[in-house]
C-alpha cells in the first residue's frame, strides 16, 4: 500500500460506431446544441454523435456539469470516484480513464486507482474510500442494490444526507453516460 510507483492511466480517444452529424448537414437545433459558431474549430466526434438528438444532448450536458462541478457539498474528488466506480461496473473504459485521471489529479492518490485497475474493487482501502466504493458498486448494478449497511458506512464516515445524494448523483449520471459512450462507440 505504501509503494509509490508512477502508475498512470492512459488518455484514450473515443471513436463512434455510427456516423456523427456533419456540420455541413446539421439542423439549426443541432448547431445550437453543439454551440457551433463561425469561429468554432473542430467539434469532437462525441459531441457530433450525440447531437443527432439535440434536446437530450443539451439538457443532459447541463445536468452532468451541475452534478460533477456544482459548488459545495461532497468533495469534487469523491464525485470523480463515484463516476469511476460506475464506469467500472458498466464496463466503460473511456469514462473510467477520464475520471480515474481526474481523481488522481485532485487527490494525488494513484494507489487506489492502480488497485482498482489491477485487482478490482475489493482491495483494502481507507474506510472512507471503501464506503464510497461499496455504495457506488451496489447502486450501479441492475436493479440497483445498495442497502442499509452501505448507507450506515457512509454516515459513519461523516457523509450527510446531502453528501450521499451528491455521491448518488455522480454514480447515477454515469449509469447514463456509460450507456452512451460504451454502446455508441469504443476507445483506444
Amino acid at each position: 500500500m505504501t509503494e509509490t510507483r508512477n502508475f498512470k492511466v492512459k488518455a484514450l480517444t473515443w471513436h463512434p460506431y455510427l456516423p456523427p452529424v456533419e456540420l455541413t448537414d446539421a439542423t439549426p437545433e443541432q448547431l445550437a446544441a453543439m454551440q457551433v459558431t463561425p469561429s468554432s474549430g473542430k467539434v469532437s466526434p462525441y459531441v457530433r454523435t450525440l447531437a443527432h438528438d439535440p434536446d437530450s444532448y443539451v439538457t443532459r450536458t447541463r445536468l452532468f456539469n451541475d452534478i460533477m462541478y456544482v459548488k459545495g457539498g461532497l468533495d469534487r474528488a469523491e464525485r470523480e470516484l463515484g463516476a469511476l466506480i460506475a464506469s467500472c461496473i458498466n464496463g466503460c473504459t473511456y469514462c473510467a480513464s477520464v475520471h480515474a485521471r481526474r481523481y488522481i489529479e485532485l487527490t494525488g492518490n494513484a494507489n487506489t486507482v492502480e488497485r482498482i485497475y489491477r485487482f478490482g474493487l475489493h482491495e483494502p482501502e481507507s474506510s472512507r474510500v471503501r464506503a464510497i466504493i461499496d455504495f457506488c458498486e451496489a447502486l450501479s448494478i441492475t436493479p440497483p442494490s445498495a442497502n442499509q449497511n452501505q448507507m450506515a458506512a457512509l454516515r459513519q464516515e461523516g457523509l450527510s444526507d446531502a453528501d450521499i445524494l451528491d455521491l448518488a448523483h455522480s454514480a447515477a449520471i454515469f449509469g447514463w453516460a456509460n450507456r452512451l459512450m460504451h454502446t455508441l462507440g469504443h476507445s483506444h
Partner: protein, 164 residues
C-alpha cells in the same frame, strides 16, 4: 416550472427533511425534470414517438424492480391512448406480430439496462440493420440512460428515507 416528480415518486412529503435537502440542489431537481421531458416528450422527436418512449420507460422501471416508477410511466402511456402493443412493451413482453425493428429495440433496451458492459459494436450496428435511423439509435440510448439514472436517484432516496 415542472413539479419535482422524483420527490413524488420517492414519497417525500414537501415538509420532510429529505425534501428540504433536495431543495438545496435546484439544479439537480430541475435538470432531471428537463431531461425527462427531453427523452419522453422531446420538442424535436427524431422518430421513436411518445407512446413507445413511455412504454419503454415503464419496461425499464420494471427491469429495475421499481413498480412505482413503472406505474408512473404506464399513466403517461394511458394518456397517449394505451395502444395494446405498447401495453405489452410496458409489461416487459413482446407484442404479437412484433416486427424486426421493434424486436431490435426491445432486445437492446433490456440488454443495455441489465448488462451495458457486454455491449459490442455488433449490438449497436444491429439496430441500424433492423431499421432504426442513426438519430433513433442515439435517442434510444439517451432514453435508456435517463431511466437508469432516475432509478438510482430513487433507490438512494428510498434508502435515505428508511435509514434517517
Amino acid at each position: 416550472m415542472n413539479p419535482d416528480s422524483i420527490n413524488q415518486l420517492a414519497g417525500l412529503p414537501d415538509d420532510s427533511a429529505l425534501a428540504a435537502v433536495r431543495a438545496t440542489r435546484p439544479e439537480f431537481v430541475h435538470g432531471a425534470e428537463a431531461c425527462r421531458a427531453a427523452v419522453l416528450e422531446p420538442a424535436v422527436d427524431v422518430g421513436l414517438g411518445r407512446p413507445l418512449r413511455a412504454a419503454l420507460a415503464a419496461r425499464m422501471a420494471r427491469l429495475n424492480a421499481n413498480e412505482t416508477l413503472a406505474a408512473f410511466y404506464r399513466d403517461k402511456l394511458a394518456a397517449l391512448g394505451n395502444d395494446p402493443a405498447m401495453l405489452r412493451v410496458a409489461d416487459g413482453l413482446y407484442p404479437d406480430a412484433v416486427d424486426d425493428r421493434l424486436r431490435a429495440i426491445l432486445r437492446h433496451t433490456d440488454f443495455i439496462t441489465i448488462a451495458p458492459r457486454a455491449c459490442t459494436r455488433a449490438d449497436t450496428e444491429r439496430l441500424v440493420a433492423q431499421g432504426l435511423s442513426v438519430p433513433e439509435v442515439i435517442a434510444l440510448a439517451e432514453l435508456i440512460g435517463f431511466l437508469n439514472f432516475e432509478v438510482r436517484i430513487l433507490a438512494t432516496l428510498n434508502l435515505l428515507k428508511v435509514t434517517a
